[in-house]
Amino acid sequence: MNEPASIRRRDTDEEVVFRARGLTKVYRMGEVEVHALRGVDLDLYRGEFVVLLGPSGSGKSTLLNILGGLDAPTAGEVICAGRDLVRISERELTQFRRHYVGFVFQFYNLIPSLTARENVAVVTEISTSPMAPEEALEMVGLKERMDHFPAQLSGGEQQRVAIARAVAKRPQVLLCDEPTGALDSKTGIIVLEVLERVNRELGTTTAVITHNAGIAAMADRVIHFSDGRIGQVETNEQRVSPQELHW
C-alpha cells in the first residue's frame, strides 16, 4: 500500500469519521486565482486529537471550514457518516452542522446580547440530546459566571464559553480554528485543558488549528500544512498533557 501519511494511521481498522479526497479550493478574484487547497486527502478517526500546523495562508482554515460544512470545495469529496458533504443539500448540511459538529473560533464569536448560559442555550435548544448549558459551563469552569454577558468576561473566559457552547450538544467532531490565538500562554493552557478533557471524557474527535508548534505535543497526530497541501504527518506515541506545554 502506498497511501499518504495523512490517511494511514497507527491502527488502520479504526473508525474513520471524516474522509476527504482530492479537495481543492480556488478563490477567483477577478483576474487572480488563489489556490487555497491544492488536492488534500485526509482521514480523521474517531476520538483522535489532531493538530494542524502551518504558515499563514496555507489553507488550514479553508480545510476546516469545508470539513465542518461551512464552505464547499471547488473539487473533491468529503465523506462523513456515509454522506458526501459536497453533494448534499443546504438543508441536510444545516442538519449535519446542527447535530454533528462543534466549532470554536479564534475570536470566540459569542452573541453579545446573550449571557454565557444563553449563548450555550442557543445551541442546546436545537440539538437532540445536549447536556444542560449549566453542565457545559461547569466543564469549562465557568459555572459561577454563567449569567454574565460576554462584555463582562475576559478573553479566556469568553473562549471557554465558546468551547462550552461547542461541546454542549455532544458533537461527534470539534473543530477549533486557533482557539488560543488571542490568548496568553497561561489562559491558552486552561483552554487547551478543556479541549483535552472534552476529547478524553466525551470521546469527541477534535481538530485544532494553531500556529503554535508547542501545542503539537498534546495531539495524537500532527498534520503539517503548506501551500494548500498536506506536507508531513507526525504521530505522537505519547500525548503530553497541556499543563506540561509551554510556549
Binding site: 471550514n65 461551512l70 464552505d71 446542527r98 473560533f105 464569536n109 442557543v122 435548544e125
Partner: protein, 787 residues
C-alpha cells in the same frame, strides 16, 4: 423562552429609540389609511342606507309650471318607476332676532304625509297635519343654528306675501345631505333654511294650485337615466323645463362624491409616502444590524441554524417594529376617523353617521404595513439568509473610500480634515445619502400639505371678495324684472350704488361638449361685480361676445375667438352663436359672462334683471335688509362675505386641528429619518470617532463629523422638499378640482418657512439626542470591541 427569542427582545430593546421613531412613521401612514378607509367606508355605507331607506330619487327636474295632469305622461315614460310632483318655492326669511339676510326653500309634502321620494327623516316633532296651512318642518342644521324647537315661529315671504309659519318638526332629507347655495363654497346653515310644508298650503301661497314646478322620480332597474331624461326634457320643455338631471349631477350627491374621491386619494397618497419612508428606514437599520452581526449569523449557521431560521430571526425584528407602528397607527387611525366622522356630521347631514371600522379596514392596514415593511427589508434579510457561514466569519470588508469629486477637482485645501470625512462619507454611499435626503424632503413636503389650505382659502376668499364681488348685499328677484326696480333700490337709505345683473339658464355647446349653466349679464363698467383674469387683474367686459370662466373654457375646450352655441332654457328659448371674447379666473362654479345689454339682446325678451348688487353704508345695512324683506319680488338677499367669514371662523378650530396633525405627521418623518441616520452613523463610526477622541479631538469636533453630514443632507433636502410639497399640493388640488370649486395653487411664504422650520427643529432635536450619546461615548468600551 428560547435564547434566540431573548436575543431578539434585547435587540429590540436596545433599538427602542430607532424602533419608536420608525414606528411613529409607520403609524402616521397607517393612521391616514385607517382614517380615510374607515371614513370612506362609513360614509358610503351610511349614504347608501340613507338613500335606500328614504328613497332618494334618480332623476330631478325643475320647470316653471305644469298642470298636474302632465303627471300621467311622465309616469308613462318607459323606465320610470315612481314619481312625485312637487312645488318648490324660493323664499326670503324673516327670522325673529336675526338681522342678517336669510333665504329659504320650501318644498311641498303630500298633505299630511311624508314624501314618497326623498322622504323626510324626522328628528323632532311631527309632520304638518293635513289642512294646517302654517305648519312646517325645518331642516335640522338650520334649527341647530338658530336654536329652534317645535312650537317656534318664523316668517317667510312667499311670492311677495309675508306669512307666519309654525315649526312642528325638525327633519332632514337625503336630497340635502350637503347644501350650499350655488356659487358658494361653504354651507351656511343660519342663512339658508330648507322647509317642508303641505302641498295644498304651499300651492295656495305660491299660486301653484293644480300645478307643479318640480318633479323627482326613480328608475326601474334596467332603465337608462339618459334616455328617461331626454324624454322628460321633451315633455317639460313647453312648461319651462330647465333640463332634468340624473342623481350623479344632483348637488348634494356631487359634493358627497367629491368628498369620497378625496378620501380615496388620502387613502393612497399619504400611506404610500409614510410607508415608503418607513420601509427605507427599516432597510437601513436592518442592513446595518446585519452588517454588525455577520459573525453572529455565522455562528448560528455554524451551529446548525438553517438559513431560513436566521432570516426569520431578523424578519421578526422588523415585524416587531411594524407591530409598534401598527398598534399606535391603528389607535390613531380610529381616533382620527371618529374625529373626521364628527366633522362630517357638521357638514353632511345624515340622520346619523354609522362610523365603524370594519375588519377589512384593519386587515388592509395590517397587510399594507407588513407588506411595506417586508418589502423594504427583503434585501437585507436575504443578505442574512445568503451569507455563507465561512464568509461571515471574516469581518465586513472595510468600506472603500476615495477622494471626493470636490477633492479631485482640487478644492481640498478649502476643506478641513473633518469636512473631508463628511464629504467622503456621503460620496461613498450616494444612494443612501440620496434616499435619506428624499425622506427628509418628503417630511418637508407633507408639512407643506398640512399647512397650505389655510393660505389658499384665504387667497381665494380675498380674490373673490376684495377683487371680484365687492357688493355689500346681493338681491335676487323671483323672476326677470324691469330695470326700473334698480332705481327703487337706489332710493333705499344708505344705498350708494346699485348694479343690475341677469342670470339666464342656458346650455353652452362647443364641439361635442356641452355644459348647463347660467349666462350672467353684468353692467359693463360695474364696480361691484367684476371679473378677473388668471393673474387676478381686472378683465373688462367686452361689448360683444362672451367671457367663459376657466373651468367652463377648459371643459368645453373653447378658447378666445371660438364660436360657442348658447341654448337658452328660459323665456323664448333662443339658440344663438356667440364668440368667446376671453377667459376669466374663478374658483367656484361654472359660468359665462357678457354685458347685460348683449344678454338681453340674445334672449330676445327685452331688458330685464334677475338681481342686483348693492353697495350699502354699513350703518344702514340692517335697515335695508329689513325693508327688502317686505318687498315683493325680492326672492332673497344675501351677504356672502359676512356669511363666509362667519363660517370660516367657525372652521378655525378644525383647520387648526388638521394643520396640527399634519405638522406632527410631517415632523415624525423628519425625526424618523434624521434620528435613525444619526444613530446608524453613530454605530458605524463610534470606533473611528473614539479613536479620534483618543488622538485629541474635542467632543465638538467629533460631533461635527458625525452630525455635519446629516445637517448637510437636511439643508439640501429642504429645497427639494419645497418641490415635493408643491407637487403634492398640485396633485391634491387637481384631485379635488370640480365644477363646484377649485383651490388655487397658492403657497404662501409662511408655509415654506414653517415647513423648513419644523424640519430643521426636528432634525436638530434628533441630532442633539444622538450627540448626547456621543458625549457619553465610553472610549475604552468602544475600542475594546472587535470590529
Amino acid at each position: 423562552m428560547s435564547a434566540l427569542r431573548r436575543k431578539l427582545l434585547r435587540q429590540f430593546w436596545s433599538l427602542r429609540g430607532q424602533a419608536l421613531a420608525i414606528g411613529v412613521v409607520i403609524a402616521g401612514g397607517l393612521a391616514m389609511l385607517i382614517m380615510s378607509l374607515s371614513s370612506l367606508d362609513s360614509l358610503t355605507q351610511t349614504r347608501d342606507a340613507y338613500y335606500r331607506d328614504y328613497r332618494f330619487a334618480d332623476v330631478f327636474a325643475t320647470l316653471k309650471r305644469a298642470p298636474e295632469s302632465l303627471r300621467e305622461s311622465i309616469a308613462a315614460i318607459p323606465g320610470v318607476q315612481q314619481l312625485e310632483t312637487r312645488v318648490v318655492a324660493a323664499v326670503n326669511l324673516d327670522i325673529p332676532d336675526f338681522g342678517d339676510p336669510a333665504k329659504g326653500m320650501i318644498l311641498s309634502l303630500p298633505d299630511g304625509r311624508n314624501a314618497l321620494l326623498n322622504s323626510l327623516h324626522l328628528r323632532k316633532g311631527r309632520l304638518p297635519e293635513p289642512w294646517r296651512d302654517r305648519e312646517i318642518v325645518i331642516n335640522d342644521a338650520f334649527a341647530e343654528a338658530h336654536g329652534f324647537v317645535p312650537g317656534d315661529r318664523l316668517a317667510a315671504i312667499i311670492n311677495g306675501r309675508w306669512q307666519e309659519l309654525e315649526i312642528v318638526g325638525i327633519g332632514l332629507s337625503p336630497e340635502f345631505i350637503y347644501h350650499v347655495s350655488p356659487g358658494d363654497l361653504f354651507p351656511d346653515f343660519a342663512r339658508f333654511g330648507i322647509f317642508w310644508m303641505n302641498r295644498s298650503a304651499l300651492s295656495a301661497a305660491y299660486d301653484m294650485d293644480g300645478a307643479f314646478n318640480d318633479v323627482v322620480l326613480t328608475l326601474t332597474r334596467d332603465a337608462r337615466a339618459g334616455d328617461v331624461i331626454d324624454r322628460l326634457d321633451l315633455l317639460l320643455a313647453p312648461y319651462g323645463g330647465q333640463g332634468a338631471i340624473a342623481r350623479d349631477d344632483q348637488l348634494s350627491h356631487r359634493y358627497l362624491d367629491v368628498e369620497l374621491d378625496q378620501l380615496r386619494m388620502m387613502a393612497t397618497v399619504f400611506p404610500v409616502i409614510f410607508l415608503g419612508v418607513a420601509a427605507f428606514l427599516l432597510n437601513v437599520v436592518l442592513n446595518r444590524l446585519i452588517g454588525n452581526e455577520r459573525d453572529q449569523i455565522a455562528i448560528l449557521k455554524a451551529f446548525g441554524y438553517g438559513n431560513l431560521e436566521v432570516g426569520w430571526h431578523y424578519l421578526q425584528l422588523v415585524l416587531m417594529i411594524s407591530m409598534l407602528g401598527l398598534v399606535i397607527g391603528t389607535g390613531l387611525g380610529v381616533w382620527f376617523g371618529q374625529m373626521l366622522a364628527e366633522l362630517y356630521q357638521r357638514f353632511f347631514r345624515f340622520p346619523f353617521i354609522d362610523f365603524q371600522v370594519r375588519p377589512y379596514v384593519y386587515s388592509t392596514g395590517v397587510l399594507v404595513t407588513l407588506g411595506a415593511a417586508t418589502l423594504g427589508t427583503l434585501s437585507a434579510v436575504a443578505r442574512a439568509v445568503r451569507l455563507p457561514p465561512a464568509e461571515a466569519m471574516r469581518p465586513e470588508p472595510p468600506p472603500v473610500f476615495r477622494a471626493t469629486l470636490a477633492e479631485r477637482l482640487g478644492l481640498q485645501r478649502w476643506f478641513s480634515q473633518p469636512t473631508r470625512m463628511i464629504l467622503r462619507s456621503i460620496e461613498r454611499r450616494p444612494l443612501k445619502a440620496m434616499l435619506s435626503m428624499i425622506g427628509i424632503a418628503f417630511a418637508c413636503g407633507i408639512l407643506m400639505v398640512g399647512r397650505f389650505q389655510e393660505g389658499a382659502i384665504d387667497y381665494l376668499i380675498s380674490a373673490q371678495f376684495n377683487l371680484a364681488q365687492r357688493d355689500d348685499l346681493m338681491v335676487t328677484f323671483t323672476e326677470p324684472t324691469s330695470v326700473r326696480v334698480l332705481q327703487e333700490l337706489a332710493a333705499l337709505p344708505g344705498v350708494w350704488a346699485v348694479e343690475g345683473h341677469r342670470g339666464a339658464p342656458a346650455i353652452v355647446r362647443f364641439g361635442n361638449a356641452h355644459y348647463r349653466t347660467a349666462l350672467q349679464g353684468l353692467e359693463p363698467d360695474g364696480t361691484l361685480r367684476r371679473l378677473l383674469d388668471d393673474e387676478l387683474k381686472l378683465q373688462p367686459l367686452p361689448a360683444e361676445g362672451v367671457l367663459l370662466n376657466d373651468f367652463l373654457a377648459d371643459y368645453l375646450g373653447a378658447a378666445r375667438g371660438d364660436l360657442v352655441t348658447v341654448e337658452f332654457l328660459d323665456g323664448r328659448r333662443e339658440v344663438r352663436e356667440v364668440p368667446v371674447a376671453g377667459v376669466v379666473r374663478e374658483f367656484t362654479g361654472v359660468a359665462a359672462y357678457m354685458t347685460l345689454e348683449s344678454l338681453n339682446r340674445l334672449t330676445g325678451d327685452g331688458t330685464a334683471v334677475t338681481g342686483a348688487h348693492l353697495a350699502v353704508d354699513a350703518r344702514h345695512r340692517d335697515e335695508v335688509v329689513a325693508i327688502l324683506k317686505d318687498v315683493p319680488r325680492v326672492a332673497g338677499v344675501s351677504d356672502r362675505y359676512t356669511a363666509i367669514s362667519n363660517f370660516y371662523e367657525s372652521m378655525a378650530d378644525i383647520v387648526l386641528t388638521f394643520a396640527f396633525i399634519g405638522t406632527l405627521l410631517g415632523a415624525s418623518i423628519a425625526v424618523g429619518v434624521v434620528y435613525n441616520s444619526a444613530r446608524i452613523a453613530l454605530t458605524e463610526r463610534s470606533r473611528e470617532l473614539a479613536s479620534l477622541r483618543v488622538l485629541g479631538f474635542t467632543r465638538g469636533e467629533i460631533s461635527y463629523i458625525l452630525l455635519g453630514e446629516l445637517a448637510l443632507l437636511t439643508l439640501l433636502a429642504i429645497p427639494l422638499g419645497f418641490l415635493i410639497g408643491l407637487g403634492l399640493i398640485a396633485y391634491i388640488i387637481q384631485g379635488v378640482e370640480s365644477d363646484l370649486y377649485r383651490i388655487p395653487l397658492v403657497v404662501g411664504t409662511s408655509v415654506y418657512a414653517l415647513a423648513a422650520g419644523v424640519v430643521l427643529v426636528a432634525s436638530a432635536l434628533s441630532g442633539i439626542i444622538v450627540a448626547r450619546r456621543l458625549y457619553n461615548l465610553d472610549l475604552v468600551a468602544v475600542l475594546k470591541t472587535r470590529e
